[in-house]
Amino acid sequence: MKTTSDFPSINERSPDGIKNGGQAYRVLIVDDSMFVTKQISQILSSEGFEVLGTAADGVEGVEKYKELYPNIDLVTMDITMPKMDGVTALEHIVEFDKDAKVVMVSALGKQDLVKKALLAGAKNYIVKPLDRKKVLERVVSVLG
């Protein structure tokens, strides 16, 4: 007679944030809102991602990416920020590292803005308000 322990648990899966090798994906969060940074951080950490750094504007975002390179697996990038907006920061990062994986996170959802970001090298675009499921799905799809 089979008992529950004989069956492999169907629900068991590894957290989204852990690579096959067991290490965590490392993330850089760029957003001028403390609240959004906290929100994204909580969502990703809960799935095993490691938030390696945060930045509050585009300039700091590019700097931190360069500093932490090549240890950043994913960048989440806000668009409306002071000093340098997210799309410009994206362009700088992609210029620095053509393989950079940047996901835009913004409250603005204008078609042409999305297109512009994707053409500039963003791998995906998440429109706020954020929900856990949406964020994880998009991030996972980018990390492939």
């Binding site: 809102s33 403390m34 609240f35 204008k110």
Partner: protein
């Protein structure tokens, strides 16, 4: 205010608040006012640019702000600290951005500027000499007034 601008703000405020606060949201009658007016205690302001100039002001009292920030963070906040401010600011940002996105689809090219937040008793916001549209909302945390003032670039 140009009539086409009205619905996007009203709808965005309603749908974002409903989604983000996960509660009943009731909307009062819209009305017009001279834009300079006292603020209830906490005001988040998002600037508008592009085809027009203007701003959207989100007005509420301190207690309501704290309760809304608590709900959005899923924790109990007790004062208007940096996190609470960032949270209210983000609410204002999301509502304005969604409205701007809708307006864009209607052919009106607006841009947003990063939001600011001001707190304090008996404050008055005296800005552009433009008539403002007031959209009053009521949520379990209290009253939230959305105050939109837009001037066409001639």
């Amino acid at each position: 205010m140009r009539v086409e601008y009205i619905n996007p703000f009203v709808e965005s405020a309603y749908s974002i608040m409903k989604e983000v606060l996960n509660t009943e949201v009731k909307r009062g009658d819209l009305y017009l006012k001279k834009s300079s007016q006292p603020v209830m205690g906490v005001a988040a302001i998002v600037g508008l640019a592009g085809d027009v100039e203007g701003r959207v002001l989100f007005d509420m009292d301190e207690k309501t702000a704290i309760e809304i920030a608590s709900a959005m963070n899923n924790e109990v906040l007790t004062e208007i600290d940096d996190l609470a401010k960032a949270t209210i600011t983000e609410l204002a940002n999301m509502i304005t951005a969604q409205a701007v996105t809708k307006l864009h689809d209607l052919g009106f090219k607006f841009d947003l500027t990063p939001p600011a937040i001001i707190t304090g008793q008996n404050m008055r916001v005296t800005d552009m000499n433009v008539e403002a549209l007031i959209v009053p909302f009521e949520v379990p945390m209290g009253k939230v007034e959305i105050n939109v003032a837009i001037r066409e670039r001639m």
